[in-house]
Subunit: 350 residues, 2 copies
């Protein structure tokens, strides 16, 4: 579905079902609110799906893959070829995200949305390449505006496909050497923060690499300054294809009435763009974890959001989202399975 | 096994196996350390069990149940009978801990270690009652010193029983109306902190109840001041039977070379006593979550410990521990299942 159409279809979640969920939670055999965040997760999921009891959802994790010419500035600890090698590891089922998705019972889908290298015959890869790597953002825009829209629409397509296959809970993930740099540029531009406050060490650059990174982000924002006018323009100017895919998955998920579990820092940049394109998107997003990447904490503070986990993860791929899905399912099982006060013969207390 | 004998059997975990685990972790297809806490959890588990690959452990959660005469001071939002009613709900498999233990595939064992009411014929209840409720700590000691030792030994017995049945990962849980009050008294006494800094709202007392609670804790510490000389004395003076059981489970688990997942605030008080009885116990403990209860945060800070989760839980029963067990198993699966750099044909980076 086209971007404009998708944005129009997104509505706030049901307050009526949110109330119904809270009512049930307050009748379960526990002090009111004592399951903390597990209660708010379950209630929001009910407000999205409008269903009590909760049906345990089919789950799909989308790993969007893209490259970044900005790596020539030495902003990453790994060479660009690692993107391709990691995609092969995903498809072989041997990466962290594969292991975790098996733990939680989710499908993993890997999408070439902006890889440099064309993995033509690779079995299992979803081929939706919009461009062969994002161009060097320090020298000009990462992509054209219509490419950005097209990449967002790939994300929307993935959400719709998941919905058709019966999924009610989807998650974002990514792979792309160098992609914390454009993510930091997006946080900086959208939130009005300094590059040094939002840029972190990524997968582990040294001090020189870090200084290059901050400088490169500053240059990218300066060089593209005139076109940083709206979320899609920011994405096209200083973003990347996989970030566009994540943005689209958030939008498509919200439009289709699904819960979207957002992974870490890079996914956060995509989700932020989606929230700026339509403010009701926020109701459908579940932020899985606070990554060790510096600007992530700031993002949550500025946006008034709270992630589910805080495990010092900084791997990406969707790893934090997979673990968070497990906790969400725990919350759903509690919602469905606990006895009510009446069933237990207890007077509700405080 | 007797307390003294158990304390003598506890040794520090294997540094050699810790190193072996770290070596493997650094060879997996991810930037070094990028799985954050998941890496440290797996490494410490290997240091405990001395086994690579990790065998997915049998798991057992122990819910120790006791009552507290201190409830007559209005320190809890619920009447004492709720302890009995909740035990029935546990045995019927309908409480939060039952739902979560099914999610994680753990057995739940419920132990009457200090219940007021004798549930004689209740099927499935493990009957090890040491005393019919802890006595009112504001007026004198909760129990005699030999009762405290006996209750600790019940916990040790449970750990040994679990080990014999093949468990390698056990968890603490509890139920007992009023038991945040003795827990706060233990934190205050052992850590040298003021009652108002460690006491929280428990399951939800109002302002008057909270003031009663702080005052009652102060009175308990004053009244028992002369006998607060060592961990077992503190337990006997201002603790409770279920807290003693938890302390024993930590000790027995460490002595038997098992990982012990510690639930929330009350379990934390039991674990703190165990750590003071033998400092190597710490190596075997995994603190599952930071509860909303005020003093819990302070306890972690003072002891330099970091909990796995922070979900605003304040229910007890072992609920946080059950969820943390899931995350630990995720860590073990990653440890076993991810490809190495060599297998993926990637040069290790930073």
């Amino acid at each position: 579905m086209r971007l404009e159409e998708t944005l129009e279809r997104i509505t706030p979640v049901s307050e009526e079902w949110m109330m119904k969920a809270k009512e049930r939670l307050d009748n379960l055999t526990k002090p009111r609110g004592s399951l903390g965040m597990l209660e708010t997760l379950a209630a929001r999921y009910v407000a999205i799906t409008k269903e009590i009891p909760i049906s345990m959802p089919e789950k799909e994790i989308f790993v969007f893959v893209g490259d970044h010419d900005v790596v020539t500035h030495g902003v990453s600890a790994y060479p660009q070829e690692v993107t391709t090698l990691m995609v092969k590891t995903f498809l072989a089922g041997r990466a962290a995200i594969n292991v975790l998705s098996r733990c939680v019972g989710a499908t993993v889908s890997v999408i070439d949305i902006g890889m440099k290298h064309d993995l033509k015959d690779e079995k299992g890869l979803i081929r939706r390449n919009v461009g062969r790597g994002a161009r060097n953002i320090a020298h000009g825009p990462a992509m054209e505006r219509d490419e950005a829209e097209k990449a967002i629409e790939v994300g929307i397509e993935m959400a719709e496909r998941a919905r058709e296959r019966g999924a009610r809970m989807i998650a974002t993930g990514e792979m792309g050497i160098g992609n914390t740099t454009p993510s930091a540029a997006i946080f900086s531009s959208i939130l009005g923060l300094n590059p040094e406050d939002v840029a972190g060490r990524g997968t582990g650059v040294d001090e020189t690499g870090y200084r290059n990174k901050v400088e490169t982000i500053g240059n990218a924002l300066k060089r593209n300054n005139e076109i940083l006018t709206d979320p899609v323009s920011v994405l096209a100017a200083v973003g990347g294809f996989e970030i566009a895919g994540i943005c689209g998955l958030c939008l498509g998920g919200a439009a289709a009435g699904m819960a979207v579990v957002v992974d870490g820092y890079i996914s956060g940049a995509g989700a932020l763009l989606a929230m700026r394109l339509n403010q009701s998107v926020r109701d459908y997003l579940f932020f899985s974890h606070r990554s060790l990447e510096k600007g992530h904490k700031l993002f949550f503070e500025v946006e008034g959001l709270r992630p589910i986990l805080d495990l010092d993860l900084r791997l990406g791929e969707g790893t934090g989202a997979a673990i968070a899905m497990q906790i969400m399912e725990d919350a759903f099982q509690l919602f469905n399975g606990m006895a009510t006060f009446e069933e237990a013969g207890i007077e509700p207390g405080a």
